[in-house]
């Protein structure tokens, strides 16, 4: 099965990190990504720029509405994701727990709803 591991963390805390801490965090994420690759579990993954760089768009009554900022105000924000292959939820949870994002913030594990699946 495929699972999306969503990384949520407090942006303001990330922003106020010392450069040394920031570098250390990047290194741990790098090592984690390598581990996923080596295990053949990695499908994809990216880091996201903070919600201040985000823009929301919706169409209502045929009109485009473009708004500055995130979709919802939350304490922790979506900061990045990994798309992985895992044989079941336990394996996916195992990868989520090893992700440094689980230490800095919270991981959400969502199964992919494949095309054609009911």
């Amino acid at each position: 099965m495929q699972y999306l591991l969503l990384i949520y963390s407090d942006e303001s805390r990330m922003a106020s990190m010392t450069p040394a801490d920031g570098q250390q965090m990047s290194q741990t994420f790098g090592a984690y990504t390598e581990a996923l690759k080596t295990a053949g579990a990695l499908v994809g993954g990216e880091r996201l720029r903070p919600t201040s760089a985000g823009t929301t768009v919706r169409v209502r009554d045929g009109k485009q509405q473009v708004l500055n900022g995130p979709y919802a105000e939350t304490k922790e924000q979506l900061a990045g994701y990994y798309l992985i292959n895992a044989k079941d939820l336990d394996e996916a949870l195992g990868w989520a727990a090893r992700c440094p994002g689980a230490t800095y913030g919270t991981m959400e594990v969502r199964p992919i709803w494949a095309m054609g699946e009911s």
Partner: protein, 415 residues
């Protein structure tokens, strides 16, 4: 129409055999497809037919094969009628193949433990784990489970459906957890079984058959887990704990239906074979030298039950066991029980000092706290405070027999 005792036991044996077979088949098929609801659907008609037929005809030589034959025929019928919609076609085909695979297997492997681990997975809402196990492993319908857990059938049905689709969609595994997770996951399975037992235990008279059955079914599940995981001391501990409690059922009410507290129970009424079995389990578990909550709780019951041999419960042991339990659980209920044990060792004054040190907020709506407090205050020579505490306990009790018992204690202080 009333059945006589013999019919009753034939019926019970047939029902037991049908549930046993049904659970094994559901577990086997669900593990292969990941879809519990579909496995249940495929077998439900056959199960209903077995519940109807077997008490009359006797349990067939190969109960699993009997159920499978009926299930395959029903699946084929449903397929022919095409009543179930176009997208049901391939699913029915898959189910028919799965059932065929079961039929050709020389011996159907017992996957019920794997199914229980799926039902008690941390991804499944805690309150629905016990009902889910009762439904999938034992074949109880949502209405029966709902009435035992005092939830409306509609709400229970919805929760069970949601939990099963979560298992399917999230890919909750049907297997024993890795060793690193085993302790926690096994505890969740045991907790679910104990929750089912506790629901059945709240009906001491056994007047409500469904609830009395629930305690028996929980013990049966406990036996199954203890049998399949003989090297897990906590599984043995839970079974011992339930057997100890069940053994006292005949002594929990007097002839007039009045509540009899443990300390006043006639030990001769306790079920000796059940107590002996529990003691053997406790010894086997403790030889493994991995102590845990259920073993300690069972040992507490054992120290109470020793009264049948010595005339007195082993209160110093009970106190020490609650100390150990508190160190593991930090549970306020354990702290309360520890205080009650302390009263028997050092007197009510020490126990009351212990109770005062606890956070009273936690116990605002907890009847046993107020009943225990009232009894301690009465013993310590504070009748007025005791009456106030009894009033709070009476107001929080839902069992009429217990309420009457508390009222009698209270009135004795006033007069």
């Amino acid at each position: 129409m009333a059945r006589d005792v013999r019919d009753e036991s034939v019926f019970a044996a047939a029902e037991r055999a049908a549930r046993e077979s049904y659970g094994r088949l559901v577990a086997f098929v669900a593990k292969r497809t990941g879809d519990v609801a579909e496995a249940e659907d495929a077998l439900s008609d056959a199960f209903a037919a077995a519940l109807k037929a077997w008490p009359r005809t006797g349990v067939p030589d190969r109960p699993d094969a009997w159920l499978l034959t009926v299930a395959r025929r029903k699946a084929a019928d449903a397929g022919r009628k095409r009543r179930t919609g176009a997208d049901a076609q391939p699913r029915l085909l898959i189910m028919a193949q799965e059932l065929e695979a079961v039929n050709t297997a020389s011996e159907i492997p017992d996957e019920r433990l794997a199914l229980m681990f799926a039902c008690a997975h941390p991804a499944i809402e805690q309150a629905v784990r016990a009902p889910l196990i009762l439904q999938t492993v034992l074949g109880f319908d949502a209405a029966a489970v709902a009435s035992a857990f005092l939830v409306s059938p509609a709400a229970m049905g919805q929760r069970l459906v949601r939990a099963k689709s979560k298992i399917k969609q999230a890919g909750v595994p049907f297997r024993l957890p890795e060793r690193a997770d085993m302790g926690e996951r096994l505890e969740a399975v045991l907790d679910a079984i104990y929750a089912a037992f506790a629901e059945g235990w709240t009906d001491p008279l056994g007047a409500d058959t469904r609830r009395r059955n629930l305690a028996e079914e929980a013990i049966w599940l406990g036996r199954l887990v203890a049998h399949l995981m003989p090297d897990e001391p906590e599984a043995l501990g839970l079974l011992a704990l339930m057997l100890h409690a069940e053994a006292r059922r005949p002594a929990r009410r007097d002839a007039a239906g009045g509540f009899v507290p443990l300390a006043d129970q006639n030990a001769a009424l306790w079920n000796t074979p059940m107590l002996d079995e529990a003691e053997t389990l406790i010894r086997r578990a403790s030889a493994m030298r991995r102590i845990g909550r259920y073993q300690l709780e069972a040992a507490v019951q054992s120290a109470h039950a020793v009264r049948r041999l010595t005339g007195r419960a082993d209160w110093p042991a009970i106190l020490a066991l609650y100390e150990a339990l508190y160190a593991i659980t930090a549970s306020p209920v354990v702290a309360l029980n520890r205080a009650v044990a302390l009263a028997e060792v050092e007197g009510p004054g020490a126990a009351l000092r212990d109770l005062d040190a606890l956070d009273a907020e936690t116990f605002t709506a907890y009847q046993p706290y107020w009943a225990a407090r009232a009894a301690l205050l009465a013993r310590a020579g504070w009748p007025e405070d005791a009456v106030t505490a009894y009033d709070r306990a009476i107001g929080l009790e839902s069992d009429d027999a217990v309420r009457r018992f508390l009222q009698a204690k209270r009135d004795a202080l006033v007069n």
